[in-house]
């Protein structure tokens, strides 16, 4: 998926998240869970996702059966309340749906890192995007500066100082860090202005190129998502199978990339 253009990955994963969140059909849940877990397994492990899914399904199955007593197949009575198969199944389905959606979110986070998200939203919100990546740099710098200031100032701190003294020491380090950072922000501001920041019509540069295979992938996934949505409304078997293919796409794509670069 990382070789894919960020826009394709973004559209595909958003469609998967939305479709998984809107259907309680067991087939949809099964496809969605299998697809997302398979993808996570290929990209650095899915143990967390499996644990989360199992917990959610169990949790909702148990709680739903305790609070809802509708259904015909009674298993046993708990405090004179019927615990039915239907309510357990319904709870498990809700848990499965949530687990599937969450797993797709995890997949989303693995594919679309800050660089890709900035690239995507840099066109729509260029200023916000710049602020975010300047912010990322600032955070790193402030962290490092804070450590070095704490080390220099430590010469004035002895072992037997009281807790209040220690707190005052940390406040001092923080205030020095702030002053140095502000001082630096003035310089950065100058450098931005000197290079024309603030002129009308700012554009955004990206490293990613949209190729033919990206276009093809995007078209196929949008088409499949359309069929899948129709399938969910009509409950047509063939159309629902399209959702299965859609869920498998990320894992197939990732598997192909892994196979190509196998050693």
């Amino acid at each position: 998926m990382r070789e894919l253009h960020p826009a394709c990955a973004f559209v595909l994963l958003c469609m998967l998240i939305l479709l998984s969140a809107f259907s309680l059909s067991p087939a949809v849940i099964a496809f969605s869970l299998c697809g997302s877990v398979a993808f996570c397994a290929l990209t650095g492990g899915a143990w967390g996702q499996v644990k989360l899914s199992a917990m959610l399904i169990l949790l909702f199955a148990v709680t739903n059966s305790l609070f809802s007593h509708a259904g015909e197949t009674v298993l046993f009575y708990l405090n004179y309340n019927a615990v039915t198969v239907e309510s357990i199944v319904y709870g498990a389905k809700i848990g499965g749906m949530m687990a599937g959606t969450l797993c797709w979110f995890a997949a989303f986070a693995r594919v679309l890192d800050t660089e890709r998200l900035l690239y995507l939203f840099g066109r729509v919100l260029p200023k916000t995007a710049l602020l975010l990546c300047a912010g990322e740099r600032m955070t790193l710098q402030i962290k490092r500066r804070h450590a070095s200031i704490a080390e220099s100032q430590k010469q004035a701190l002895s072992q037997e100082d009281s807790a209040i003294e220690k707190m005052r020491f940390h406040a001092r380090v923080l205030s020095v860090t702030m002053s140095v950072t502000l001082e630096q922000a003035v310089q950065s501001g100058r450098s931005m202005k000197a290079r024309g920041y603030g002129l009308k019509g700012r554009t955004s540069y990206g490293l990613f190129r949209f190729g033919r295979s990206d276009a093809l992938f995007l078209a196929v996934s949008v088409l499949l998502a359309g069929f899948a949505a129709a399938g969910m409304l009509t409950e047509d078997k063939f159309l629902l199978a399209c959702f299965g293919v859609l869920c498998a796409l990320p894992a197939i794509r990732e598997g192909r990339e892994l196979w190509r670069w196998r050693s």
């Binding site: 010469q155 004035a156 140095v180 310089q187 100058r190 002129l199 540069y205």
Partner: protein, 522 residues
């Protein structure tokens, strides 16, 4: 063609009563390489910033500035931003974004260039500067020299006609400095970009420049070739010249004034050189002893200290020289106890004071005096000590100023004074000459000499060979975590062939400082 014309420019800062620039007039020819010299506070930065409208300081200005015959205030915002490029001395502060490629594209994005244009220009610039290998890296992971190259490259992407550089190499190590300047020379020679560069270290730039502008107290007092400047400058100010010119002036040679090491060598050819004898300094007892120090940050990490063993004596000033990544700062942090060695021992008699590379990190109060008072209380010393120490270091007039308003040199001296309040036996200095001009270096050398005379031991790590040659008593080379045995400074620099002072290169190690050269004609 005149690409930049400055006519009777005067300027005063908003709150100041004195003019920072007074009646400055000059014109730059297209494709010229001009060096702007002058002491700290002579108005170099003010002048450069006035030439770039976007970052002009606040205050009252009079006179005219014209770019390619167009008055500065008649240029459109877009033209002004793209035609004049500006690089300052702080590489860290100039970089805006988190990735190298994004930084290169930043100016183009601001100017609203389209995607195809940006791709091509960024590719071109990255190839010309050899940035290919670190194109996708985080800007935070670059070395200081790489950062400054990136700043220059990203300014050049907008195709400026004039490049203004404000002491661009004053915070770089000598290797990065040479790389940066040779690239700048290439830009000037091969692409014909007009360069106006301010510098307080003229060792390398005088050989490249075709013109020197010298400012003194806001007035332009010299405008001519570097050779003419080197011959004309007052004898007590020759410290700002390249070593070859200093020898020429101090030893009263005749003929054309040399500017580079090779020209200096030709001048000294066929002359017998001698050097005044200096008796070896007697040192006191050992005050700091490092034995078999080993250090690395992680098990697989780079070895930053490899069985380092040495002794430091009372009254000694030892300089450890080395490039970036040689483990200089790590060694100091091991010695002062900020890091624990993996194996080995540090034994010290008395207090150790550590002056970090950025001296402003030592201060935290609104004035130097308040900071000192607080520190005195911490180290159980009487406040009367402040006056005595300030007098000794010569910073009594700075006590009521805010630490951040001080110049680099003043701040460095205040930091030394602060550390002296705890009456240390050992003073550790990390790159104390970073960003200092010749005068400030001289003052620091004097202060350190005074300290060592009173029995304090000083250990400096630096890559500034001229500072080491003029102020250290013993020197050693640190490389790859290895420390070679310290030798007397004269022997150390005389025996080194590559890592040595320009004077030593010219004289084959007979002399190491320009003022030492005495010659006889055979």
């Amino acid at each position: 063609m005149e690409i930049l014309k400055v006519d009777r420019l005067s300027f005063a800062y908003a709150e100041a009563d004195k003019e920072a620039l007074c009646d400055v007039s000059f014109a730059l020819e297209s494709g010229s390489f001009t060096v702007l010299t002058g002491d700290s506070g002579s108005g170099k930065s003010t002048l450069l910033r006035l030439l770039k409208r976007e970052i002009a300081p606040r205050g009252t200005a009079s006179g005219d500035i014209a770019v390619c015959g167009v008055a500065q205030n008649m240029l459109s915002d877009r033209e002004s931003a793209s035609r004049i490029g500006f690089v300052s001395q702080y590489p860290d502060e100039q970089i805006v974004t988190d990735r190298v490629w994004h930084e290169l594209a930043f100016g183009l994005e601001s100017l609203g260039k389209d995607d195809a244009f940006m791709r091509r220009r960024v590719a071109e610039i990255a190839s010309f500067f050899g940035i290919g290998d670190w194109f996708r890296m985080q800007t935070d992971a670059l070395s200081g020299g790489q950062k400054q190259l990136l700043c220059l490259a990203s300014v050049l992407a907008a195709e400026p006609d004039i490049l203004l550089l404000d002491e661009p190499t004053s915070r770089l190590d000598p290797v990065s400095e040479a790389e940066f300047l040779s690239l700048l020379e290439r830009l000037n020679r091969e692409l014909g970009i007009t360069v106006l560069l301010s510098a307080h270290d003229t060792e390398r730039v005088f050989g490249m420049a075709d013109r020197v502008l010298h400012l003194q107290d806001g007035r332009l007092i010299f405008d001519g070739t570097p050779r003419a400047f080197a011959t004309a400058v007052a004898i007590e100010k020759v410290g700002c010249l390249p070593s070859a010119s200093q020898i020429y002036r101090k030893a009263s040679f005749s003929g054309a004034c040399p500017l580079t090491v090779s020209e200096g060598r030709r001048m000294l050819d066929g002359k017998t050189l001698t050097c005044p004898e200096t008796p070896p300094k007697p040192f006191g007892d050992t005050v700091l002893k490092a034995k078999d120090l080993c250090f690395r940050f992680t098990r697989e990490g780079k070895v930053l200290a490899d069985h380092i063993t040495f002794e430091l004596h009372a009254g000694e000033h030892l300089c450890l020289l080395g490039g970036n990544g040689s483990g200089k700062t790590t060694l100091l942090r091991l010695l002062c106890g900020a890091l624990k060695p993996v194996s080995g021992k540090v034994r010290a008699v008395g207090e150790i004071a550590y002056l970090p590379q950025e001296p402003q990190t030592l201060f935290g109060e609104p004035s130097v005096r308040e900071d000192f008072l607080l520190y005195c209380k911490k180290v159980n010393k009487t406040p009367e000590l402040i006056g005595r120490v300030a007098e000794r270091i010569g910073i009594a007039h700075l006590l009521d100023r805010h630490p951040y308003d001080l110049s680099g040199g003043e701040l460095q001296l205040c930091a030394v004074a602060k550390l002296l309040l705890q009456d240390p036996r050992v003073l550790l200095l990390d790159e104390p000459t970073k960003g200092l001009d010749a005068a400030a270096r001289g003052r620091l050398t004097n202060v350190l000499q005074e300290l060592t005379a009173s029995g304090v031991a000083v250990l400096t790590v630096t890559h500034d060979v001229r500072f080491a040659a003029s102020s250290a008593y013993t020197c050693a080379l640190l490389f790859d975590g290895n420390l070679h045995t310290p030798e007397p400074t004269r022997d150390f620099f005389a025996q080194n062939r590559f890592y040595t002072t320009p004077t030593s290169r010219m004289t084959d190690g007979i002399c190491i400082l320009p003022e030492d050269v005495i010659y006889h004609i055979n």
